[in-house]
């Protein structure tokens, strides 16, 4: 599931848990009674692996772990935490970090690397990595030139979902470029269904949208520079990307319910209202995890009533804003490196991919193992983009939290302000001011 979805849900859970557990707080820290000694591991021993997956995802990941145990004879003790950052923080502080963690936020990987908590990949793991992942995906596990991690589970935020029935009624095909998309929008509007629905009230879908437009229009190098605030938000490229975005959002007829309703639509509603009868909109923009919401919350079937097209390229070749989980070692342990090397192999990817709900960036994975055509297509765009070097992690996850990941301020708020006012220059200035404060400049 996408990082953002779990994040917003995580906050809700956290607050619920706080309210219930507050009076019981004096009782002791949960997780104290975990077995230690796992850290020592060694040949044929045991390692501890931490990740965010629970429920069905945990079961599926267990298939990967079993495959590893079978091959290496090393037992794996799996621990999951919804809030991996906090979990790792306390475990590291307590002196018993898990041997391997699969980290969903690149920002967390960077801060752990900066603290010196991560262990560099061994030569064997490095070799496995180079054999199976494109340089573009390899880089997603590196910090300042040092390779710490292996990108294992991939997600795309460059998918745009549509209601096939509405497209058929309007007599249009999925667009393959930005300008074509604007024309398609016009035709679809004329057919009586507004073109796009987006969860603007949550903020992050707008940020993701902007990241796609920026990556497609300014290119990966500029994207990197903006991520690290090497170039200011007042840069011409930002203003031009905002103006491009405005070509879609300034037209009230394009938006389900117009701008005022769009600003009140949350992510889940933006998906469900695209697949109700009659639909309130023809398309909904967000990443591949939209498929999960369609399956869980609507009557529509992914692959039939619901399909997606790639975020339309603006200039030249297409690029992908990605997300995913990176495996890193936190202890200096041979078995941990062996496990990371295993994660890079097509066998590890296949163990989960064939069950479904999993996209692998692995180049050597046979695409036919995916159980459905949609996952196969998403995997293809991700591997293609990583081969051409045009894949980048979600930019907002790389920012300080106050700027990139907090509802009601920073990027989330400014993007909402932007689609309300359409004033690119003013928003760029405001973003720059926020970014400066957040980066402590």
């Amino acid at each position: 599931m996408g990082g953002h979805m779990t994040r917003s849900r995580r906050w809700l859970l956290l607050i619920a848990a706080l309210l219930i557990a507050l009076p019981a707080c004096a009782g002791g820290t949960p997780g104290d009674d975990e077995d230690d000694g796992a850290a020592e591991g060694g040949e044929g021993g045991e390692i501890t692996v931490a990740a965010v997956w629970t429920g069905v995802e945990e079961e599926n990941f267990t298939a990967v772990l079993d495959a590893f145990t079978e091959e290496s004879g090393v037992d794996v003790n799996y621990q999951s935490s919804d809030d991996l950052g906090t979990y790792l923080g306390t475990q590291i502080e307590g002196g018993s970090p898990p041997d391997v963690a699969l980290i969903p936020q690149p920002g967390l990987m960077r801060s752990l690397a900066a603290d010196g908590t991560l262990v560099e990949l061994s030569d064997d793991a490095q070799a496995a990595l180079e054999e199976n992942l494109a340089p573009g995906s390899q880089d997603l596990g590196a910090v300042d030139g040092t390779q710490y991690g292996i990108y294992f589970k991939a997600a795309s935020k460059s998918t745009w979902w549509y209601n096939t029935a509405v497209f058929e009624q309007a007599g249009v095909e999925p667009p393959t470029s930005w300008d074509e998309m604007l024309e398609t929008a016009q035709t679809v509007n004329s057919s009586g269904t507004p073109f796009v629905s987006i969860g603007a009230s949550d903020g992050w879908p707008l940020t993701d949208f902007f990241e796609n437009v920026y990556l497609q229009s300014a290119g990966p190098e500029m994207y990197d520079q903006l991520s690290t605030h090497e170039i200011p938000w007042t840069d011409e490229s930002v203003i031009s990307a905002l103006e491009t975005m405005n070509e879609l959002f300034s037209e009230d007829a394009n938006l389900a319910g117009g701008i005022s309703k769009t600003l009140q639509t949350d992510f889940v509603t933006s998906v469900t209202q695209t697949y109700t009868d009659p639909p309130d909109s023809a398309t909904v923009y967000e990443g591949d995890f939209v498929a999960g919401v369609i399956g869980g919350e609507t009557e529509a079937v992914v692959g039939e009533e619901a399909d997606f097209f790639d975020f339309p390229p603006i200039e030249g070749e297409s690029a992908v804003v990605g997300a995913g989980d990176v495996g890193v070692a936190l202890t200096d342990n041979e078995s941990a490196q062996e496990f990371l090397a295993f994660l890079a192999t097509p066998e590890a990817a296949e163990a989960w991919a064939e069950i479904g709900g999993f996209i692998s960036p692995n180049l050597n994975l046979d695409p036919s193992v995916y159980p459905d055509e949609i996952s196969q297509r998403i995997a293809e765009t991700i591997t293609a983009a990583s081969e051409s070097g045009a894949i980048r992690f979600d930019m907002s996850d790389l920012q300080p939290a106050e700027f990139g990941a907090t509802a009601g301020q920073g990027l989330f708020q400014r993007m909402q302000d932007f689609i309300r006012t359409g004033d690119a220059e003013a928003i760029a200035k405001a973003l720059e001011k926020d970014a400066k404060a957040a980066f402590g400049e």
Binding site: L19, G171, T187, S190, S191, K261, D266, G408
Partner: protein, 448 residues
């Protein structure tokens, strides 16, 4: 936390002047008994309080003393200012509303036959946690009248008066000699019409479902002697088609109200289109005329108020909170009313006082201490307000609905700016102090 600590200290202090104190001569024994409580208080109240105040003067990373920098930064934030303003609004409005409302309900329920049943119903929301109250009202306040109960009730009233047009979302398609000043307005032809002329109106943004089943292929009108003919059609076929041209597969729109206007802009005739979208104005008289698609065709009915949009969100949440809190006031005040000395009320009535005078001169003054308790409890509840705002306000309105406790949490734990968060916590603490002083005085008075 601060609330709890002052409460307890208020009680223990006011006990001291009592004449008889068991074990008063043995301070060590007393201390031994107090120790567990003191340790808990120290660890859970005093230490966090002191540490929060300390943090508010420190840089969060280096822990260096930076004076009032965190306070300056907090007051520089629009969110904090909104939070302070909103908390002020809450404190001014809500305790009064709940105490006053509770008193009125309590007095009235005393007088009706099934008063207890009414009280039970009023008290029921108290059994629901504030979190659930927020969830319930978030749905109640939904803008879509099909989902939100509040708008459904209003809509039921409004729609019976106003009604809905045949094609609420339709707009003018491009490339035609027509004008529509804004969405939902009438579409007027720029053409001057005389008897025998024809005029066409192409509309789009009409879904397949909105087109009636009896609609037929639209045909370009031919001049009719002695009449003006108008055709309204759906200027869309799969793929879009050419705007402004009547094409194969494009149907006429039935049930459209057409109006014919003379030069002064008066409506001289009105017709409804048939299944092929045509309307004929027989014998309109001398011209010239203009024709238009009446605005009533585009009436979309009641769309619901955006209760949870930034402009209305605070009053809306106040409504939900009062709903959840008034039961408490009714029951507490009701209990006080039951304990009122009846003879005083009877005496007043015998002396010829009206019911209003009895209420104002006898009931209210006698009830003052209880009203005070309700008022102060509610003030404290409102100051520490968090959950209901967090749950009820959607993401786009959370800034507009912000209150101090919520701002403190969001700043500290979402934005991870602990220094500024601590400064906001201190603001909250300062706001609670006057209420504590008031409470303390009241305790002393009660004891003496």
């Amino acid at each position: 936390m601060a609330v709890a600590s002052s409460d307890v200290s208020a009680k223990s202090k006011s006990r001291r002047p009592r004449p008889k104190r068991p074990g008063g001569r043995r301070p060590l024994v007393a201390l031994a008994f107090l120790l567990p409580a003191l340790i808990l208080l120290g660890a859970l109240v005093v230490y966090p309080l002191v540490d929060t105040i300390a943090q508010s003067f420190q840089d969060q990373d280096t822990r260096q003393f930076i004076g009032l920098e965190n306070y300056r930064r907090a007051l520089d934030r629009d969110n904090t200012i909104t939070a302070l303003k909103n908390t002020l609004i809450w404190v001014i409005l809500v305790p009064g509303l709940i105490t006053g409302g509770g008193l009125i309900f309590a007095v009235l329920t005393e007088r009706v036959r099934y008063g207890t049943a009414v009280k039970v119903i009023l008290f029921m929301p108290m059994a629901i946690s504030a979190l659930s109250v927020g969830v319930i009202w978030r749905v109640m306040y939904e803008q879509d009248p099909d989902r939100g109960l509040v708008n459904a009730v209003i809509g039921a009233g409004v729609d019976t008066v106003k009604g809905q047009g045949a094609y609420p979302n339709a707009t003018l398609s491009g490339e035609q000699d027509l004008e529509q000043p804004n969405a939902k307005a009438a579409v007027t032809s720029n053409q001057e019409l005389a008897v025998g002329d024809t005029v066409t109106f192409g509309l789009v943004s009409i879904t397949d479902e909105e087109v009636p089943a009896d609609a037929e292929q639209a045909v370009a009108p031919e001049g009719n002697e002695g009449a003006i003919t108008a055709v309204v059609w759906r200027d869309f076929k799969p793929g879009g088609g050419t705007a402004g041209e009547i094409e194969e597969e494009e149907v006429g729109l039935p049930n459209v109200t057409m109006e014919l206007l003379d030069q002064s802009g008066e409506v001289v005739a009105s017709e409804t289109t048939g299944s092929d979208g045509s309307a004929t104005f027989e014998d309109p008289g001398g011209g010239p005329f203009t024709a238009r698609v009446a605005a009533s065709n585009f009436d979309e009915g009641f769309q619901g108020f955006a209760w949870l949009a930034p402009a209305l969100v605070t009053p809306a949440i106040i409504g939900a909170f009062v709903w959840g809190g008034i039961g408490f006031a009714v029951v507490v005040i009701g209990a006080g009313l039951a304990a009122l000395p009846r003879d005083l009320l009877e005496a007043a009535r015998t002396d010829g006082a009206t019911e209003w005078q009895v209420f104002r001169m006898i009931t209210v003054p006698l009830m003052a201490p209880i009203l005070g308790v309700v008022f102060i409890t509610m003030t404290i509840n409102v100051l520490k307000l968090f959950d209901i705002v967090y749950v009820t306000a959607p993401g786009g309105s959370i800034n507009a609905a912000n209150v101090v406790a919520l701002d403190m949490w969001r700043t500290s734990f979402q934005a991870r700016q602990f220094g500024i968060g601590a400064a906001i916590a201190v603001f909250l603490f300062l706001m609670v102090i006057p209420i504590m002083v008031l409470n303390l005085r009241r305790f002393r008075r009660d004891e003496s």
